[in-house]
Symmetry: C2
């Protein structure tokens, strides 16, 4: 119920949605390797400053939606599929309404 608000708030932002889309299907990258996306790519992709990108990444990681792995000087990001599956399930419940009015 309430724990849904945290990850949903993290997703409910155009910038972070774009980040998730890119993590889901990455395109060109300066130092990505196929098993993760380098953080420096987002700076150019989103047209935002580096601190802002770092801020959004922290939110996504704290919400459990994205996994961050530090490899040497870079940080590689990847989606956390289980988190999205859980949220999707919770929302799908509203699509199958029991609609019984108790007294």
């Amino acid at each position: 119920m309430d724990d849904l608000a945290l990850p949903l708030k993290a997703i409910a932002d155009p910038v972070r949605l774009q980040i998730l889309e890119f993590l889901h299907a990455p395109v060109a990258s300066c130092c990505s390797r196929g098993d993760g996306v380098c953080g420096c790519d987002f700076e150019q992709l989103l047209g935002l400053s580096q601190p802002t990108v770092s801020h959004h990444m922290k939110l996504l990681v704290d919400a459990g939606l994205v996994r961050a792995e530090k490899r040497g000087r870079w940080v590689y990001y990847d989606l956390e599929p289980a988190a999205f599956a859980a949220i999707a399930d919770r929302l799908a419940r509203f699509a199958h309404a029991p609609r019984r009015v108790a007294t």
Copy 2:
């Protein structure tokens, strides 16, 4: 992509999540009838003022998540199952990552 932000922002709030939960499985109501929930019920359920409740309802309706039907003096609210199914599908995509890095 971006059209997801609007409904997600509407859901990503503890108060509105509680409203959705109640619409999904209503309990006691002063004037509900089984095919919708009277707006006056939320005021007491949420412990918020009437204008605040009206504000949240407007957000949910504008996001296409809730349907409002005016019957006489009251307004009855109901979930819009298709909207939640669509959002759940979009989020479920992130749980099934293609993970192909194009150049």
